[in-house]
């Protein structure tokens, strides 16, 4: 239980009065101190009664967009929260997301009006599980406060933690091989390449990694057999931090939030995977790469050194990349075919020619090459990109496409939700 500032002051006054009464042997001071203690005790009992009534009325019913879910994929959660308020009591109910999941969108807290009738609120948010396995929700947190006291009760009964989230691992998948190498169509189907558990064995075929040969079984049958794995082989995600341009104003509050998010994720990744890689960029400029760092304090001190708005030497000036330009050309051609209006046709033709000219002379930006070279230094299957999203966001699209082209799952965290929608590749 937390005593508010006013209550702490009243406790101090009553203590001083009772001490003075004892020292001076004065009944009047004792009476004043005693009544103050009685008043505080009464308020505490009233608060406790209210708290119990409120907590007893809280109920939550969650529904998931899908269950089971694959690790690293977003999941929509809708929670119906029922609770009762009380006059002069502030009530906040928070849905506690499962451990090892990250909240990516939405809010998990509702405020209940100070009304004794039962109230229903709906929460809708998106989470991304980080680790595979079964994970129940952490429960519900109810915070109740009045003028004198504040207390938080965490409801973690079985029914408050339902449903249990089943997170499936995401393995490393074998790239499709050509028909010629194995001679059948089934070989095109993706299969788990490396992992922790052996799924099955199959005969060795040319091109298979020799390290996957099961020598014991091979010796037994006189033929080479290779192991097929199931489960995941975890490698830590690459954390990419896009720092704002120092020459223009940036939202300080969002920047602080982003820094705290990145620091939290770095700590979590280090705890989970024993090492972490962080790439610091500012627009289309690569600033620094912290590669497979194992020491938390060293990593944090490096981050402290770099995590501040930086000067940008290169800019994209809202440049569309080649695939955007091609889709714009296609849109113009579609428009040209569909419109009978000569004016519009002339407009579409002019636009198409302009896009084609740009496409013809556009070179692959140096940024792409730099990113590709940087990525070749680390082994990753997913990346988290943190950005404020202020100003030009074309480098974010470019970076996300580049990562996706290398089969790297990208999770973009933009502090400004409106920009996040726009920058999504």
């Amino acid at each position: 239980m937390l005593l508010r500032r006013c209550t702490r002051g009243l406790c101090l006054i009553s203590f001083i009065l009772l001490s003075c009464a004892l020292i001076l042997d004065d009944m009047a001071i004792l009476f004043a101190g005693g009544t103050l203690v009685a008043a505080l005790l009464g308020q505490y009992l009233l608060f406790d009664k209210g708290l119990r009534e409120i907590v007893a009325s809280v109920d939550i019913e969650r529904s998931l967009s899908r269950n089971p879910v694959r690790k690293g994929t977003p999941l929509q959660v809708t929670a119906i929260v029922t609770g009762r308020g009380s006059s002069r009591m502030q009530v906040q109910i928070a849905d506690l997301i499962p451990p090892h999941t990250i909240l990516v969108d939405g809010v998990t807290t509702v405020t209940i009006n100070p009304d004794p009738s039962s109230q229903v609120r709906q929460l809708s948010y998106q989470i991304v599980p980080d680790i595979h396995g079964t994970q129940p929700f952490s429960g519900v947190s109810v915070t109740v406060g009045n003028l004198f006291f504040e207390d938080t009760v965490q409801l973690t009964r079985e029914r408050d933690r339902e449903p249990v989230l089943s997170v499936q691992p995401s393995g490393f998948f074998e790239p499709p091989v050509s028909e010629l190498s194995e001679g059948n169509l089934d070989s095109r189907k993706l299969s788990v390449w490396r992992g922790t558990d052996i799924h099955s064995l199959r005969e060795y075929s040319p091109g298979d990694d020799i390290r996957h040969v099961d020598w014991k079984i091979s010796a037994k049958y006189g033929k080479l057999f290779v192991k097929r794995y199931t489960g995941e082989m975890s490698s830590p995600p690459l954390i990419i931090l896009d720092l704002p341009w120092s020459s223009v104003p940036w939202p300080a509050k969002e920047f602080d939030r982003m820094i705290s998010d990145v620091t939290g994720m770095v700590k979590h990744t280090l705890q989970t995977y024993q090492y972490v890689s962080v790439l610091l960029i500012s627009g289309p400029n690569i600033l620094h790469l912290i590669r497979e760092e194992k020491n938390l304090s060293r990593c944090i001190s490096e981050l402290r050194e770099w995590m501040h708005p930086a000067e940008r030497q290169d800019h994209f000036y809202h440049m569309k990349d080649r695939s955007d330009l091609r889709s714009s050309v296609r849109e113009c051609e579609n428009g040209l075919q569909q419109t009978p209006d000569p004016g519009m046709q002339a407009f579409y033709e002019a636009m198409r020619d302009r896009y084609l000219t740009v496409l013809q002379y556009q070179r692959v930006p140096a940024f792409s090459g730099q990113v590709a070279r940087t990525l070749s230094q680390v082994t990753i299957t997913e990346a988290y990109l943190f950005s404020l999203g202020c100003g030009d966001t074309s480098h974010i699209r470019q970076l996300a496409r580049l990562l996706q082209s290398q089969n790297i799952r990208v999770h973009i965290r933009i502090m400004d939700a409106a920009v996040a929608r726009e920058a999504r590749p």
Binding site: L10, L18, L22, D25, M27, L30, R52, L147, L155, D160
Partner: protein, 155 residues
Amino acid sequence: MTPPQPEYPFFIALAIGVTGISVLLGSPAWYLNIALLLLVCGILVITRTLHERGFYLVCAGEPLVVACGIMNLWAGLFSACMLAGIVYGALGLLESQKDLIPFALFCGGSFIIALLIQVSNHVPLALLVIGGLTAVILAIQSVRTYQFRKQYTGA
């Protein structure tokens, strides 16, 4: 027209009561009571817009309760009850008829404390009783809170 604030009737009752008791008892330090009453009045007016108004009122009112208690214990009880009414009213804790119950309970509790002090000869014994009662209530409450949390945490 705004409805009258509930703390002002209590203050008027306190002012009349304290003045009347001071005159009736012919206290040699009557001017002290009046001065402390003016202090409460001043704080009541000055702190109208402040957030921690209740705390300031208690700080200003307790010396008056002590002064009245020195004069006569029952005068102290009266001023303590009126001060509680002022503080409750200022904090918005007397908005409905139902809210009068905690106030009445406080008055009842204060009466019991006054009775206890009346029958006690020295402070330590009365203080021991008050402290002991408080400790017992807090201990019972701790056990109840533990059971309550255990029930809701599913442990």
